[in-house]
């Protein structure tokens, strides 16, 4: 569908002859294909490797991972063998992860109970706030919105210092709340949703008012349904952002048992590289599923985030 649209959009290049056009197009397609392969390669390889048995993994990657951890003396194999297709498809890694070593599942669960509340509450707070921003006018609102943009754009190096101070003051340092609470109020989704809410025609709201709808009803039955698709895309964007978090747990949590899998994955030691591939694959399943089912929403959401004005 999108392909057709893009085709319609481009004006015919009448200066070129048909054949020239075809050659240019072929070259472009090849370029795109090469780029696409490069972009997909790491993901595909990770998934493919998760189906290798642990002996195959250590035979293939021993040269890399035995040196990273123990200083380069115990070579299992001299050569590294990056492979797409395992010699024998084996689910042993998954079996180990799922049934034998509960540690990984625990970390996965840590990720879930951090990210799910963040997504739900950030969206709830943001839906109301963006509606408020869309309805209000005036200099004060614009200044406040700009403050939100600044907070949104601050890198973690900056925002983690305030987060740390507040968590310390509230006594929630080293608990999940230290990560969840600041994340709930991060203005990212307010920013995107405000852009959509602003497009709701005022006349629609006025009409609903004349019909006797209360403010809350207008919000619930007019504003929310109108930006449903962008709400989906914001859910996806917020989810992947926090599913991928590394900085916050490192600073705000000192108890490694609370670490989400995203931090823990990099600490898996060399003996368990095979497991690591399986865990890594399991870890990307939620985001890949979201991508498969919500790609169009995602694209729409990104398109809305262009430009900093509300």
């Amino acid at each position: 569908m999108t392909a057709q649209n893009t085709q319609k959009k481009v004006t015919p290049k009448r200066k070129f002859s048909r054949r020239q056009n075809k050659i240019v197009l072929a070259v472009m397609t090849v370029f795109a294909a090469v780029a696409a392969v490069i972009f997909l390669l790491p993901t595909v390889l990770t998934i493919a490797n998760s189906f290798m048995s642990s002996s195959e993994i250590s035979a293939n990657y021993g040269a890399v991972f035995s040196t990273t951890e123990s200083g380069g003396k115990t070579f299992i194999s001299e050569k590294v063998n990056l492979k797409f297709i395992p010699d024998m498809v084996s689910f042993s890694q998954y079996y180990t992860v799922l049934f034998k070593s509960p540690d990984y599942l625990l970390k996965f669960w840590n990720s879930v109970i951090l990210v799910v509340p963040i997504v739900i509450f950030q969206l709830a707070v943001a839906a109301f706030a963006s509606y408020g921003f869309a309805r209000l006018k005036g200099r004060l609102k614009e200044i406040l919105f700009f403050v939100y943009v600044i907070v949104m754009m601050m890198p973690y190096q900056v925002t983690l210092v305030p987060n740390y101070l507040v968590s310390d003051a509230l006594g929630i340092l080293n608990t999940r709340w230290a990560i969840i609470l600041p994340a709930v109020f991060t203005p990212y989704s307010v920013f995107i949703l405000t852009k959509v809410m602003r497009r709701i025609p005022v006349s629609l709201i006025e009409a609903a008012k004349l019909d006797g709808a209360s403010e809350l009803q207008i919000f619930r039955y007019i504003a929310l349904p109108l930006c449903k698709s962008v709400i989906y895309s914001v859910i996806i964007l917020v989810f992947i952002d926090y599913w991928n978090m590394v900085e916050q747990p490192l600073i705000l949590l000192s108890d490694e048992n609370l670490y989400p899998l995203s931090v823990f994955l990099s600490r898996i030691n060399s003996g368990e590289i095979g497991l690591a591939f399986a865990v890594a694959t399991i870890y990307m399943i939620p985001t890949l599923l979201m991508f498969l089912y919500g790609e169009d929403y995602l694209v729409e959401g990104i398109a809305y985030s262009g430009g900093i004005k509300g």
Binding site: T43, T46, I150, F185, W243, L250, S262
Partner: protein
């Protein structure tokens, strides 16, 4: 389907830009003589913002002011006012200098690449090539995959005994220790581009979709070539987006610590020691003064960049109409 929506959204934004300045003045005069209804009208929207506003105040603004205060006193207990001393000592701190320099170097190389390659991908998909939606999906895919998941593969590729070195050896090129030499910056840049190009591409694609077809059609009829159309029509319309993507990439480039940490852990090679590493280490020693001063310095940089973007967007907004 999306193209239609996108272009209509852009038209709307342009309209907002056009009228953005005027209603405010009216609003001001209205506030001097407040009629009774506006307050009742405003109560609900203000109530809507309240939870978010309180949260942002508690978790970002108030502590930020506290940090500002910390950055100009000698320590949190004594509270002697020292004005810029903390900043001066920070600027003399060799670790900070190294981290800032590395981050700057990284930003200066990766941001132009992220903009140019992002635009190139968008142009590629905007041409009449087949399988556009499949290509789009594969360029977006890295964005969806957690870095932690794929970092093992990157390690396998770039390790001293890794795939890339094996491959280069076939051409008689000596082994390079990608992650533990000055080349580490290249690896980090690649990982950054791999991760961020998809997002930039979508922003450019939506901007390309917003260019009026009539104008391109007219240009074609008047005999304009592809290059002319690109430089004189498309690039002109894209300039606000290019600016925005550049700023966004710049801010993302400050965040690159995540990739570096996952690739190399707490103590990376010198050339990829980033500002976040410096902050992490300072957190561990709980040196509030250094930490606050560094955070304030960085936020000043960001605020200046954003203010410039804001001014530029206003200007471009008038330009393109």
């Amino acid at each position: 389907m999306l193209n239609g929506k996108r272009s209509s959204c852009q038209g709307d934004e342009n309209q907002m830009k056009k009228f953005g300045a005027k209603p405010n003045k009216k609003e001001k005069t209205a506030r001097e003589k407040p009629p009774k209804t506006p307050w009742r009208d405003k109560a609900f929207p203000m109530g809507c913002i309240a939870p978010s506003f309180i949260g942002v105040m508690i978790f970002f603004i108030v502590p930020f002011i506290v940090i500002l205060y910390y950055s100009v006193v000698d320590n949190p207990i004594n509270k002697d006012f020292v004005f810029l001393d903390n900043y001066i000592s920070l600027l003399h701190n060799s670790a900070f200098k190294k981290a800032a320099l590395n981050t700057l170097k990284f930003s200066l190389t990766s941001v132009p690449l992220a903009v140019i390659l992002g635009l190139a991908l968008a142009m590629l998909l905007d041409a009449k090539i087949p399988l556009v939606s499949q290509f789009r999906a594969s360029f977006l895919c890295p964005m969806m995959v957690p870095v932690a998941s794929v970092v093992l593969i990157w390690q396998v590729i770039f390790h001293y005994n890794g795939t890339l070195n094996e491959f280069l050896a076939k051409f008689g090129i000596d082994k390079i220790d990608w992650l533990k030499s000055d080349k580490a910056m290249i690896v980090v840049t690649l990982l950054f581009l791999w991760k961020n190009l998809g997002y930039n591409m979508i922003l450019f694609l939506s901007a390309l979709g917003g260019i009026s077809k009539d104008q391109l059609e007219v240009a074609t009829l008047e005999g304009a070539g592809a290059w002319y159309k690109f430089f004189h029509i498309k690039l002109r319309h894209l300039s606000p987006t290019i600016l925005f993507v550049a700023i966004l990439s710049l801010i993302n480039s400050f965040k690159v610590f995540r990739e570096v940490y996952l690739l190399t852990g707490d103590y990376p090679y010198d050339s990829i020691y980033m500002l976040q590493h410096f902050m992490n280490n300072t957190f561990r020693s709980l040196d509030y003064q250094k930490l606050s001063a560094a955070a304030i310095l960085m936020s000043i940089v960001i605020i200046v960049i954003l203010a410039l973007l804001f001014v530029a967007e206003n200007k471009f907004g008038e330009d393109t109409e």
